[in-house]
């Protein structure tokens, strides 16, 4: 008898005593109640039932401490806040450590770089005056409305892991630190406005507004919003931004003869956790490129330059064979990779994309473009829930391609199709 609850869980393994690049190890686990089983439960069960040697980190188990951040099926999240049912049921569960942090063991990363960067923006309250009574501040003041729930950040590091810029710009403090900077800049009780703004602004310009941090935050905080808030402050406070003497806390650190608190934990040198995630990272990079192209196009339009600019709309359409119609049973939904060549401006590239084929009767097919209409990740068909699901941001579409969950703005794109000698063909650009 086949066990329908059996799931494959691939866990990244790295042993600091052995070194190397690390690898994924597969476990098979019976998960009868995926709706109420968290990824943390999955890890604890594997540890107890199959392999006591796996290492992961957790503390509170109720989304309050931010210790169990990891990359779950390509997307950052807290193991305790992600249920198995939140992932497409047809897929393996893949768990790897947060990006950009040194791996200590398996899924456990060294968060020191996070806190080091965090301190770049002076992320601590410094009272503007000594007083014994709390301030009287109405909850509907602009300041408090702006800050909203952003002080609820639990410093889990998911935003930093999801950010494609933070690892490439040494001076970039990243979304968590800038979110804290924002809440303090907006807080009238705080004394470090000018030095904090100077430091934060310096950092903010590295943000490329990709919204990854906003997408993954387990506390629904938008790092992007915080960063843009700080940048807007530059307009109103330009005169305040000037080189300043270091904060006393920094001076103090230099002169402090305090004991070195043990040597820093120097974990692995492995780069495996830095490997780009094939599904999303690669995609995000290409999207960034496309956004840049789009900006360039609109600029040329504005400037009235009449040079011929290659655009995607100019691409000639072409018919590409998908496969033998007989291999698609009536009533089924299948995914097929197609390969074709596409000329883009001065460059010819080979395209490999999955196409989703639904066959309703002998003569009736529907072919969907598998790109999620949100950000273009490949969606997959989940036969259990009968939905197309996107692993990147939780988008879901019904059998007709209509949006039923998540951020996608419109239904899945349908591709023109025809049958030629029993071969199904689709029209693509």
């Amino acid at each position: 008898m086949q066990n329908n609850h059996l799931r494959t869980v691939k866990i990244f393994r790295y042993d600091p005593e052995k070194g190397g690049e690390g690898h994924f190890q597969s476990y098979s686990l019976d998960i009868p109640q995926p709706e109420i089983t968290t990824i943390l439960d999955v890890l604890l069960r594997i540890q107890k039932e199959q392999d006591p040697s796996i290492a992961f980190r957790f503390a509170c188990r109720v989304n309050m401490c931010g210790s169990c951040g990891m990359v779950i099926n390509g997307r950052e999240g807290l193991a305790c806040k992600t249920n198995v049912a939140h992932l497409p049921s047809g897929q393996d569960i893949t768990l790897r450590p947060l990006n950009h942090f040194p791996v200590i063991k398996d899924l456990v990363v060294d968060m020191s770089p996070f806190f080091a960067k965090y301190e770049d923006t002076l992320p601590f309250f410094e009272p503007i005056e000594q007083r014994s009574e709390p301030y009287v501040i109405k909850p509907d003041t602009k300041e408090r409305v702006d800050i909203a729930m952003d002080t609820d950040c639990i410093a889990c590091g998911c935003c930093v892991s999801s950010c494609t810029m933070v690892n490439n710009h040494e001076g970039y403090a990243g979304p968590a630190a800038l979110t804290r900077a924002f809440t303090l800049l907006a807080d009238k009780r705080d004394a470090l406005f000018e030095p904090r703004l100077t430091r934060a602004l310096d950092s903010c310009y590295n943000c490329r507004t990709e919204f990854n941090c906003t997408e993954v935050c387990p506390k629904s905080i938008s790092g992007t919003r915080a960063i843009k808030y700080i940048q807007r402050l530059a307009v109103t406070h330009l005169k305040d931004i000037k080189p300043l003497p270091p904060h006393p806390a920094e001076e103090k650190a230099k002169n402090d003869p305090k004991p070195k608190a043990a040597e820093p934990d120097t974990p692995c040198s492995c780069k495996c956790h830095e490997l780009p995630d094939p599904s999303r990272r690669a995609f995000l990079k290409s999207t960034t490129g496309m956004v840049g192209l789009g900006v360039a196009i609109s600029l040329t339009g504005i400037l009235g330059v009449s040079a011929v600019v290659p655009t995607l709309a100019d691409q000639p359409a072409q018919w590409v064979p998908v496969g033998n119609a007989a291999s698609y049973p009536v009533g089924s939904v299948n995914t097929t990779m197609i390969t074709y060549k596409r000329k883009q401006a001065i460059h010819t590239e080979t395209v490999n994309v999955p196409i989703l084929i639904r066959r309703d009767s002998e003569q009736d097919f529907i072919c969907f473009n598998s790109s999620c209409t949100h950000l273009g990740c490949a969606v997959s068909w989940d036969p259990t829930t009968k939905r197309f699901e996107c692993a990147c941001h939780g988008g879901a579409f019904d059998v007709d391609g209509n949006v039923i969950a998540g951020p996608p703005p419109r239904p899945l794109d349908r591709l023109p199709w025809k049958l030629e000698n029993g071969i199904i063909m689709v029209e693509v650009v």
Binding site: P16, E17, Q33, E35, I36, T37, T38, L40, D41, L44, Q47, K48, S53, I54, A55, F58, A59, C60, R61, V62, N63, M64, C65, G66, S67, K81, I104, V108, F115, P123, F124, F125, P127, S132, P134, V136, I137, K138, P139, D140, R144, I147, M149, T151, D152, C153, I154, A155, R180, D187, R189, A249, K252, A253, D256, K258, P259, K260, A261, A262
Partner: protein, 575 residues
């Protein structure tokens, strides 16, 4: 496996509210002190202060008074609190909460007029619970952790204390033996003063509210070092732990403010049973009463199909619930329960040690150079803690400890480090690391489950003599199992960490059962089916307990001192 010694002025064990405030206030009083914090988790991420939901009881309103807060605390504790400690708690809470805002930068929820909002909690005659939404701990600990960063106080992360170190006479604490989980290494830190503030967390029960990383480390270390302990039978069960079958989330709490706001509890037959157990206040009775009632309903066969009872907040209105308890609603929704529109199954969940190390209002413990603050200390809450007095205790006593230790270390004669008994640390390391060199033995994960089942079934919400004596027999045999554990592996060894947890769980289990057998009555969190009545002509004592030469607890009962409030005043007080 052992690193060279470090020496500091003040070693702080733990990094919750008590530890952080102690560090901040000790540093601010004497910036020249070398302070070192050692935490089992990442910086500011471990422990229960961060998990505080409801809030912090404090007198701020002119209509309230320290007198009222004290009376609520003594009534809630069923009169056996140390009245000096309870009085300091309520009086110091006021400046402590104000300084959380003015010094550390917390911002608690405001009323429409801009003053700090205070909400209703159970067992109190005034709405005095300060909060930030329904996840207050995040605000407190995030802000105080930042203040530690600002002061550049060094922190050893994922480095747990495993034993306190003593001098040759065994009367002075000289520091602690720590274990760095990441490297799998022990290290010795010697200090002129040591503060134990690891937090408790009665995870020795099947169903528990604190994160599973907690294991009463401080309480067990204090006991093993020979410190005087008290009230160890008093373990609070929170009445509304979420039921999630098969998940580690099971036992996590739905906060008290729900009952404060008027949520109802129903048994499996749909009866609002609290009207039977506490006709005047019903669900707003104190936690001991509500937990006991739920347990008795469950035992009487009136549990809901999920195995507990049900909380109904929906009758307050979905909008109200979602606005005031968004964190709780989200927690329920993750497990397919709709707090705003339906009933949610809950069960009593082991939550808090009222007992712990004996201290005075300066946080001094019974051994020299030893200080204790927060849940590791006993006496503040008596037989039952009020909701909202827990984070209050951690913050108030952390702050008091910081100031007190700074004064202590301000005297030159106290600033020196006493010599640790030669060979003591090496012996400890040899004993503690034995499971790593054993080829075969018991499994710590299994041992932990056995400890939890035995405690839940025999020393749980409702107890009796025969069961507890049987539990002590279980513990003797479980102790052998724990001592025979075998663990393989090196760095970041989670199973070895669980083994260290079980050593502490064993000690607190034995302490709790031994102490519980000395109290032949029902009082506060201690419920006896064989002695179901509270007996004020008998039970006004505290059981003090210490480790005897055979490793087992010895005890002595001492009468409660009604120093500030008489028994009659306490008995007459109505919330």
């Amino acid at each position: 496996m052992m690193k060279a010694n470090m020496q500091v002025d003040l070693l702080i064990l733990g990094m919750g509210a008590a530890a952080e405030l102690a560090a901040i206030y000790a540093h601010d009083a004497r910036p020249d002190l070398n302070i070192l914090i050692a935490t089992k988790a990442l910086k500011g991420k471990g422990g229960c202060s961060r998990m505080v939901q409801g809030g912090f009881n404090v007198v701020l309103d002119p209509g309230d008074s320290h007198e009222k807060h004290l009376m609520d605390t003594l009534k809630g504790g069923q009169y056996i609190n140390n009245q000096d400690l309870a009085k300091a708690l309520v009086e110091e809470a006021t400046p402590t909460v104000k300084e959380l805002e003015t010094v550390s930068g917390c911002f608690f929820d405001r009323r429409e007029d801009g003053h700090i909002h205070q909400k209703a909690f159970a067992g109190q005659c005034f709405d005095r619970t300060v909060h930030k939404g329904d996840l207050t701990g995040i605000e407190i600990i995030s802000r105080t952790t930042e203040q530690i960063f600002k002061r550049r106080i060094p922190v050893l992360e994922e480095t747990r204390a495993v034993e306190l170190l003593l001098d040759s006479e065994g009367k002075t604490v000289t520091g602690a033996l720590l274990f760095n989980m990441r490297r799998g290494e022990f290290l010795v830190v010697e200090a002129a003063a040591t503060l134990v503030a690891t937090g408790g967390g009665p995870t020795q029960y099947r169903f528990h509210a604190p994160g599973p990383e907690k294991s009463a480390d401080g309480i067990a270390m204090l006991y093993r070092a020979g410190a005087l302990m008290r009230d160890m039978e008093m373990i609070q069960f929170h009445p509304t732990g979420l039921i999630v079958p098969g998940s580690v989330v099971a036992g996590a709490l739905l906060e008290e403010g729900l009952r404060g706001a008027g949520a109802h509890l129903y048994n499996g037959e749909g009866e609002r049973y609290m009207l039977r157990y506490a006709p005047d206040v019903a669900e707003r009775a104190t936690r001991d009463v509500v937990s006991r009632s739920a347990y008795l309903e469950m035992m009487a066969g009136r549990a809901c199909p999920e195995g507990g009872v049900r909380i109904d907040a929906a009758h307050l209105g979905a909008d109200f619930v979602l606005k005031n308890f968004p964190g709780m609603a989200e927690r329920c929704a993750q497990f397919k329960y709709d707090l705003a529109r339906g009933m949610v199954p809950v069960s009593p969940s082991a939550h808090f040690f009222m007992g712990g190390g004996v201290i005075d209002t300066e946080c001094r413990a019974s051994l020299d150079k030893l200080f204790v603050a927060g849940e590791d200390a006993g006496g503040v809450h008596g037989a039952n803690r009020l909701g909202g007095n827990g984070i209050c205790e951690s913050c108030v006593y952390g702050r008091l400890a910081g100031k007190s230790i700074a004064r202590y270390l301000g005297k030159a004669e106290n600033r020196s480090i006493k010599k640790t008994k030669p060979g003591l640390a090496a012996d400890m390391v040899a004993r503690l690391s034995a499971p790593l060199s054993r080829a075969t033995g018991t499994n710590p994960l299994h041992n932990r489950t056995e400890i939890q089942e035995s405690n839940w079934n025999k020393v749980g919400v409702v107890r009796n003599k025969a069961d507890m004596e049987s539990a002590l027999g279980d513990f003797a045999s479980l102790r052998k199992d724990v001592d025979a554990a075998a663990v393989s592996g090196g760095a970041y060894n989670m199973v070895f960490n669980v083994h260290l947890d079980t050593l502490n769980m064993m000690d607190v289990s034995v302490m709790a059962a031994t102490s519980a057998l000395q109290r032949d009555e029902t009082r506060g969190a201690h419920t006896r089916s064989d002695f179901p009545e509270q007996r004020d002509d008998y039970g006004l004592f505290n059981t003090f307990l210490w480790r005897g030469p055979d490793g087992l607890p010895q005890w002595e009962k001492r009468a409660v001192e009604f120093k500030h409030k008489s028994l009659e005043a306490c008995q007459k007080h109505k919330k």
